[in-house]
């Protein structure tokens, strides 16, 4: 084990600039003339216990096995271009208008991913290649997603998620938290299963039971009584929901104005990130958010420049790019991590797409992420003999090494053997 324990006392100056507590405090102490009080801020007061230096974690899951070889191109490998005659992005030194944009001497991104460039150039975005599940080579989406989310491959008995177990083993960051974790979905992602005070909420801007305002409190009280007598997991979820309805009803997320002129595109993914941003800034004690972006199962006609792959990469990059400008660049304590269950074959298939493969890419973003570079634990190569089954990029970086380092160093949870059972992580310098 080589845990690098970073001291938080020497934290980045950016953070000193604006803590959330100070943000609230300064906002309310200034006169209305000096500062327009944003009307999406909560009209409620929480106990002042934001002494924690922990980051809020946003976990992004790219569902469907994202083609890491299309998202981050190893343009130094001539064979890459010959293995993908119909679905390649031209090398960065070509003259083609849709040529890739170099991240360094070896790796580049297609134009559809350019929304991430500001974060990368600011040193806040870490790109990791040849990443995935070292100890599991299932090509089943459903098995592989499950194993990644529960944080322990090939164990059919674990049902709780890694983020669920993380939240279960740290104290809340607020005195009386209502909603510690949120999934931007209609069902609870496996990642969050087991988390206390955590709900799937597809649309936080519209969350309530409706009906007559006059009788609402009485009806809510009745439901609370009724579900007190229910059984888990429904009982816990309903009681958390009652509290969350109360808090969210006091926010006006629809009126939320992103900072730094950030523009969230009108996609489901970006709308979800926008809601997460509003919840983070409204200081309700949120500690973790999980959000999906789908559409990566590109078996056919994936076309990274104009087709499905370009479209989904653009949604991903523009959404995260807006979140970076709005939340990360403005100094909020947030770490974003993005992963996919596995990658895809390096050679294209006969349908101008790619079938299920092995390694993909991962991303981490935050002010305390050692970003601005492409990290490769060791590049496995793409010559025929270097590929797994002669088709697939080998996994050299296990996703749990990345997540465990974030959990310990950014989320201040040292219970790694509980969060990632059976795995002794090696920290790779993901955080700083």
């Amino acid at each position: 084990m080589s845990h690098h324990d970073h001291s938080h006392e020497s934290g980045c100056p950016e953070y000193r600039g604006l803590s959330r507590r100070e943000f609230i405090a300064s906002s309310s102490s200034l006169s209305a003339a000096a500062l327009v009080f944003p009307d999406w801020l909560p009209r409620i007061t929480f106990a002042n216990n934001f002494s924690s230096t922990r980051d809020i974690i946003v976990s992004v899951f790219l569902r469907g096995a994202a083609d890491g070889m299309a998202m981050v191109i190893p343009h130094f490998e001539p064979r890459y271009f010959s293995l993908r005659p119909n679905i390649r992005t031209p090398a960065p030194d070509s003259l083609a208008a849709n040529r890739a944009i170099a991240l360094d001497n070896r790796f580049s991104i297609p134009p559809a991913m350019s929304g991430l460039l500001p974060a990368y150039r600011a040193g806040d975005l870490l790109v990791m290649h040849a990443a995935g599940q070292r100890t599991n080579n299932s090509r089943s989406h459903f098995d592989a997603q499950r194993y990644m989310e529960v944080g322990k491959p090939a164990d059919p008995d674990i049902s709780s998620g890694w983020l669920g177990r993380h939240l279960a083993t740290v104290p809340p960051i607020a005195a009386a938290p209502v909603l510690r974790g949120i999934g931007l979905s209609t069902g609870l992602a496996k990642t969050l299963v087991g988390a206390p005070q955590t709900l799937p909420i597809a649309d936080p801007a519209n969350y309530g039971i409706g009906g007559s305002a006059t009788t609402r409190a009485a009806r809510m009280a009745l439901l609370k009584d009724n579900y007190e007598g229910s059984v888990n997991p429904l009982r816990a979820a309903a009681l958390d929901a009652v509290g969350t309805i109360d808090v969210l009803s006091r926010l006006n997320i629809n009126a939320y104005t992103p900072a730094s002129g950030a523009t969230y595109p009108n996609t489901g993914f970006a709308r979800g990130l926008r809601s997460i941003a509003a919840l983070i800034k409204s200081d309700i004690g949120l500690e973790a958010a999980s959000i999906d972006i789908g559409g990566w199962d590109t078996h056919a006609m994936q076309d990274p420049n104009g087709g499905q792959m370009a479209n989904v990469m653009r949604q991903f990059a523009q959404g995260l790019g807006a979140f970076w400008a709005d939340v990360v660049s403005t100094g909020y304590r947030v770490t974003v991590v993005a992963m996919s269950e596995f990658g895809r074959n390096v050679p294209e298939n006969g349908s101008a797409g790619t079938d299920h493969g092995r390694a993909s890419v991962m991303f981490a973003m935050g002010k305390r992420i050692a970003g601005g570079r492409v990290y490769v634990q060791s590049w496995p190569g793409i010559e025929a003999a270097q590929l797994e089954n002669r088709m697939d990029l080998q996994v050299t970086l296990d996703y749990r090494d990345v997540l465990a380092e974030i959990v310990q160093n950014r989320l201040e949870n040292k219970n790694l053997s509980f969060v990632f059972p059976g795995w002794t992580p090696t920290f790779r310098g993901v955080t700083k």
Binding site: R63, R134, T135, N136, R139, H141, F142, D155, S159, G164, L167, A168, T169, T186, G187, L188, G194, A195, P196, P200, I201, A202, Y207, I209, G210, G211, S212, T215, A218, R219, L222, L223, D225, N226, Y227, V231, N232, P233, L234, R235, A237, L239, A241, G294, H299, A300, N349, G350, G353, H356, A385, L387, N389, R390, S417, F418, P421, G422, W423, T424
Partner: protein, 512 residues
């Protein structure tokens, strides 16, 4: 040249994992009602964490609610989309076995012709061929399919059959947005035609269903460039199950066997020899020798041979038995239960009727843990149990979607999840819909008539509620809460609608 994946330093057993949890100390919190939790998993640091952190809440075997004692009610809760008063009187007249027998043999024993005529009149395009459907507006066709499906679930007398249609729609899940009008043909000619027939016929129909072949990219697969998508899901999701004994090599070989299975320009299944790989293949230990292209159309039999192999494979019997048991009985079927249902499959050549009968075993249902209604089930049951007058069901279809079940639009081929840990958290939007439904007097969507409840006293109203929503088995605690609510104001229509809404929102109505 597959690299051996490195092993983690230790592989704790499940018991070890739970011990990790208990080491964290802290006793089970007072007041956390978790009667079914095992002591081993019920302790971490946070109150509500304790029950859930091991994740076993996911698979929790929650005992039936205490008032749910009548075995006939248990049967119709599982075999219908919410027992209506007429269902209850039927099962009480006929008894458990005869009611079940009628539902399984629905076609000859229960006249449903009035509903079918109604469906044909309302949604005339459902019976059209692929070629006829192709030029029609897909938004209109999607609306017809979703609306007709939910309408049937609400009003059909063939309730168990409709539950099986939902089961197979998930088993052979297809996202209509990828295949458009072809899903209407698949729904009719694959799912509905064989939902209570022979599994072999169902699988073979699905394997030649243009919607399925298009959905899983089989239409793109050809010699020299096989696409593995359909071949993989055919074994993983449709027959053997992910642990059913196939390998990545089998996926690759089966994808070669199926080259040439594709779709014609008019949206029909066609086998195209020019796209077929005539080389030797080995799937699951069965070798198909190389042949020459002069075999032509006969080479479709290679794929058919493998379909038969899959249909008769013991893993298929067990996989289907396990799924059916999870659908109707328990999240964790026992070996004995799986053996019994898989035995029915093998003994009858895959007769779905016989498997369903074996699954809906009276003794098993007596012990069956609670199941939570998925959004579609919840919406349908709410319309049924309130005897809602449905003018246009499209709004209710939209509600199911916004609650997490957009019909025929699950993106991935594994179908909507069925675990309560997945759905339980999204309770607020359910409450919002149920509140709206009870209040509705709409003349364009659906409306509820509460005059049957307004006969006089609060207790009279509660008796009607108990009969309509809970089959006479409402919990006393819920009755007390609702009675207090009615008594807290004037008993008028508005108060009654709110009370009905609260009864629908109660935790009991979320279970079946």
């Amino acid at each position: 040249m597959q690299q051996q994946p490195p092993k983690g330093p230790e592989k704790p057993s499940r018991r070890d994992f739970l011990r990790i949890g208990t080491k964290r100390g802290g006793s089970a919190p007072a007041g956390a009602a978790a009667p079914t939790r095992s002591a081993a998993s019920a302790s971490v640091t946070e109150p509500r964490t304790a029950e859930a952190v091991s994740g076993d809440a996911a698979q929790a075997k929650l005992p039936p609610l205490a008032p749910w004692t009548d075995p006939r009610m248990r049967l119709i809760r599982r075999a219908t989309y919410g027992p209506r008063a007429s269902d209850i009187s039927d099962v009480k007249t006929l008894g458990y076995q005869r009611w079940l027998n009628d539902q399984v043999n629905y076609a000859t024993r229960i006249d449903n012709s009035a509903l079918e005529a109604d469906v044909v009149m309302r949604w005339p395009n459902l019976s059209r061929s692929a070629a006829e459907l192709a030029p029609l507006d897909i938004n209109m066709l999607r609306t017809e399919l979703t609306n007709a499906t939910m309408y049937r679930a609400v009003f059909s007398k063939h309730q168990l059959y409709e539950r099986m249609v939902e089961f197979w729609t998930d088993h052979f899940s297809i996202d209509i947005n990828k295949v458009n009008h072809l899903k209407l043909v698949d729904d009719r000619a694959v799912i509905r035609r064989h939902a209570m027939g022979k599994f072999g016929d169902l699988l073979k129909a699905s394997a030649k269903s243009p919607a399925m072949l298009l959905y899983l990219d089989q239409n793109l697969s050809r010699v020299g460039a096989p696409n593995q998508n359909y071949a993989r899901e055919l074994m993983e999701l449709h027959t053997l199950g992910v642990d059913g004994g196939y390998t990545q090599r089998d996926v690759e070989e089966l994808s070669r066997v199926l080259t040439g299975w594709t779709i014609s320009a008019t949206g029909e299944f066609v086998f195209t020899p020019a796209r077929h790989d005539f080389g030797a293949k080995t799937v699951l230990g069965v070798t198909i020798p190389a042949s020459s292209s002069t075999v032509g159309l006969e080479a479709v039999k290679e794929g058919e041979q493998i379909l038969d192999l899959l249909i008769n494979h013991p893993s298929t019997a067990r996989f289907l038995a396990t799924k059916l048991l999870k659908w109707f009985v328990t999240p964790e079927p026992t070996t004995e239960q799986v053996d019994a249902v898989a035995g029915a499959y093998r003994a009858t050549g895959g007769d779905i009727k016989r498997m369903v009968r074996a699954t809906l075993n009276e003794g098993w249902l007596a012990q069956a843990p609670l199941k939570m209604k998925r959004p579609y089930h919840l919406v349908v049951s709410a319309l049924r149990n309130t005897s809602a007058l449905v003018v246009n069901i499209n709004n209710a279809v939209g509600v199911a979607g916004s609650l997490g079940q957009p019909m025929f639009q699950f993106l991935t081929p594994d179908g909507f999840p069925d675990g309560m840990e997945y759905w339980a958290g999204n309770i607020t939007p359910r409450w919002a819909f149920l509140t709206t439904l009870a209040a509705s007097t709409s003349t364009t969507t659906y409306r509820v008539n509460v005059s049957p409840y307004l006969t006089g006293t609060p207790d009279a109203a509660l008796d009607v509620l108990n009969a309509e929503l809970f089959g006479g088995e409402m919990a006393p605690a819920t009755r007390t809460l609702l009675r207090n609510y009615i008594a807290g104001g004037t008993i008028n229509e508005a108060r009654m609608r709110e009370t009905l809404g609260l009864a629908l929102c109660s935790h009991e109505f979320q279970w079946y």
